[in-house]
C-alpha cells in the first residue's frame, strides 16, 4: 500500500517537474537544472560511498572527462552535442578502468586520496590538449546549443526563443537522467547484486563466504557510477558552454558539494541525496551572498552529522516517524 502511494507521489512529482519549462520561468529552469545535475552526481556518489563503501573524492575526474569528450565531439568531430553526451559517458567508463585498476590497490582510506590523485593526473593531462585550448580551455562555438537536435521542435511546439528551448531540452535530459539514476539505483539495490553489496558493507567476510565477490561487485559499481557521472558532466557543460581544466575538474563543485549533499541528506539511504539537494539549494539561496561562510556552514553541518546522526536528515526522519520510503530490504515474512 505504502509503496504504491510512494510511487504515485513520485510519478506526480516527475510530471510536475517536467512541466516547469512549459509553465515556469527560464530562471526557474536554469536553477532546477543545476539542482538536478547535483542530484545526479549525489545519487552516483551515494551509490559508490554509501553502498559500495568506496569513498572517492575524485569523481571530478569523470565530470571533467565527460565534459571534455563532449567538447571534443562537438568541436573536433562536428557531432551534435547530444551525441557528445553519450560519448562523454562512454569516455568516463573507459577512463574508469585504468583508474580502478590503480586505486583499488589502495586500501580503505587511501583509496580516497588515490582517486583524487587520479583526477589531478587527468586534469593536468587534459591541460596539455592544445586543440581544446590547453590550460585556458575553450568555448562551444556560437549557436551550437541552439542547433541541437530537438531544439527547433521544442521552440515551435512551445513558442519560445531557441535559447529557452535549448535550456528546456537540457533540463528535460537532466530530469530524465536523475529519474533513471534514482529508479535504477533502487532496482539495483533490491536485486541479488545489490543485496550482495549491502551484505559486503555489513560484513565482508560473511558475504564472501556465501559467494559474493566484493572486488568485482565494487568494480562494477565504480564503472557504472563513472558512466552516470560522465553523462552528467557532459550535460552540465552544454549548459555552461565553456570548459577549462580547472572548472571541469573542480573538486569543490563536483565532489565536495556532492559529498555534503549526500551526507546531510543521509549517506547510505536512497532518499538521502534527494533530501540533501533540497536542503543544499535552500542553504545556497540564503547564504550564497556570503561565499566562504556558506562553505564553512556546509562543512560544519557535515561534521556535525557525522558526529551525531550518521544517517543524516533522512535517518533522523525515519528514526522519529518510523516511515521508510523506498525500502531496500525485502520484508521478512511475518511470523504468525
Amino acid at each position: 500500500m505504502k509503496n504504491t502511494l510512494t510511487k504515485s507521489v513520485a510519478v506526480l512529482l516527475f510530471v510536475g517537474l517536467a512541466l516547469v519549462p512549459v509553465l515556469g520561468t527560464r530562471a526557474m529552469v536554469q536553477d532546477l537544472f543545476m539542482v538536478l545535475t547535483l542530484l545526479i552526481l549525489a545519487l552516483n556518489w551515494n551509490m559508490l560511498a554509501g553502498f559500495a563503501g568506496l569513498v572517492s573524492v575524485g569523481q571530478q575526474a569523470f565530470v571533467g572527462i565527460g565534459a571534455y569528450a563532449m567538447f571534443a565531439a562537438v568541436i573536433l568531430w562536428g557531432l551534435d552535442p547530444l551525441v557528445g553526451i553519450a560519448i562523454g559517458g562512454v569516455a568516463a567508463i573507459v577512463l574508469a578502468v585504468p583508474i580502478a585498476f590503480f586505486t583499488f590497490r589502495l586500501n580503505g582510506a587511501y583509496f580516497a586520496i588515490g582517486t583524487w590523485v587520479a583526477a589531478e593526473i587527468v586534469r593536468l593531462s587534459l591541460a596539455q590538449w592544445k586543440a581544446l585550448g590547453g590550460g585556458t580551455g575553450t568555448s562551444l562555438p556560437k549557436g551550437t546549443t541552439k542547433d541541437m537536435f530537438g531544439v527547433d521542435l521544442i521552440k515551435d511546439a512551445l513558442d519560445m526563443s531557441s535559447s529557452a528551448a535549448s535550456d528546456a531540452l537540457t533540463y528535460w535530459l537532466a530530469l530524465l537522467l536523475a529519474a533513471v539514476t534514482l529508479v535504477s539505483g533502487y532496482v539495483f539495490l533490491r536485486s541479488r547484486m545489490g543485496l550482495g553489496l549491502q551484505a559486503i558493507r555489513d560484513n565482508a567476510e560473511a558475504a564472501r563466504s556465501v559467494g559474493v565477490d566484493p572486488i568485482r561487485l565494487k568494480a562494477a559499481v565504480y564503472l557504472l557510477t563513472a558512466f552516470g557521472t560522465g553523462l552528467c558532466g557532459a550535460l552540465l557543460f552544454i549548459q555552461i558552454t565553456r570548459v577549462t581544466p580547472d572548472a571541469a575538474f573542480d573538486v569543490v563543485d563536483w565532489t565536495a558539494f556532492v559529498i555534503f549533499i549526500t551526507v546531510i541528506g543521509g549517506i547510505g539511504t536512497l532518499p538521502g541525496p534527494v533530501v540533501g539537494v533540497i536542503v543544499f539549494y535552500a542553504l545556497q539561496r540564503t547564504l550564497a551572498d556570503y561565499g566562504t561562510i556558506y562553505l564553512i556552514v556546509l562543512g560544519l553541518i557535515g561534521i556535525a552529522i557525522m558526529l551525531f546522526a550518521r544517517k543524516g536528515l533522512w535517518g533522523i526522519f525515519t528514526a522519529k516517524t518510523g516511515i521508510e520510503l523506498l525500502l531496500l530490504r525485502h520484508r521478512a515474512p511475518k511470523r504468525s
Partner: protein, 287 residues
Amino acid sequence: MIWVDTIVQGVLLGGLYALFAAGLSLVFGIMRLVNLAHGDLIVLAAFVILTMAGALGLHPFVAVLIAAPVMFAVGWLLQTYVLNRVLGDDILPPLLVTFGLSVVIQNGLLEGFSADSQKLSAGPIEAASIKLGPIAVGVMPLLTLVSAIVVIFALNQLFYRTKLGRAFRATSDDAVTAGLMGIRPRNVFAIATGIAMVVATIAALYLGIRANFDPTIGPARLIYAFQAVIIGGLGSLWGTLAGGIVIGVAQGLGAAINPEWQILAGHIAFVLVLLIRPRGLFPRAND
C-alpha cells in the same frame, strides 16, 4: 652537470615533502586514520607563524617556537573532541569529518586572511647558498632537508626508545589490550595528533619561507604528503623520507623538461612506483 644539479635540487625539495608527510605517516601508523585536512592544517600552521611573527615582530624561526605548542593544542583538541568520536571499523565517518574540516579550515582562512599570497620573511638567509663541489645549493633548501632528517630521526627515537613510543605501538597493535595495560588509547591518539601538528608546523615554516602561500594550497600539499607516505610504504618513517625524495626528484626532472610537467611528473612517478611495488618501497612487515 645540469642533470646532477636538477637531481640535487629535487632531493632537497623532497625534504619539504617528507616534512609534509611525516605527520600524516605518524597518525596513520598509530590509529589508521587518514586526515584529509592535513594539508590545510599545514597551511593553518603557516598562518599561525605569520601572525605570531607579525604581531610580536619575531623572526619566523623564533615564531615557530610559539606556533608549535599552539598547533600541538589544536591537534590535541581536534583529536579529543572530534576525531576520537569517529574512529572505528567504518572508515567513512573519519574521512568525511576530516574532509569537512578541510573545507572549514580553508574557507575560515579565506575569511580571516583573504586570498592574498603571503610569505614568511626570513631575511638574507633566504638567498644564501653554499658551494658543494660544482653545485650551488641554497641554504634554505638544505636546511629543509636536514630538518626533515632530524624530525624523522627524532620521531623514530620517540617511537622505539621511549615509554610513550611503546604505548603508541601497543595501541596501534591492539587498543583494547592496551587498555588492560593502563594505557588510555584516546589520550595516546590525542598526543600523537598533537605531535603530528608540531611536525606540520615545522613543515609550514619552510613552506612559508621558501614560497608564497595562500589559504587554498592545502589540498595539493596533502596530495604530495600522501604520495610520499604511500611510496615509502605505510608505517615506515624513513620510507616516508625516501618517498618525499622520489616525488621531489620526479618533479624536478619533469620541470627541467617542461615547466608545465612538474606536478604531473610527480603524479606519474607515484603511479609507476605503485604499479611496480603496490605496498611501497619499505612496507612494514606486519600490516
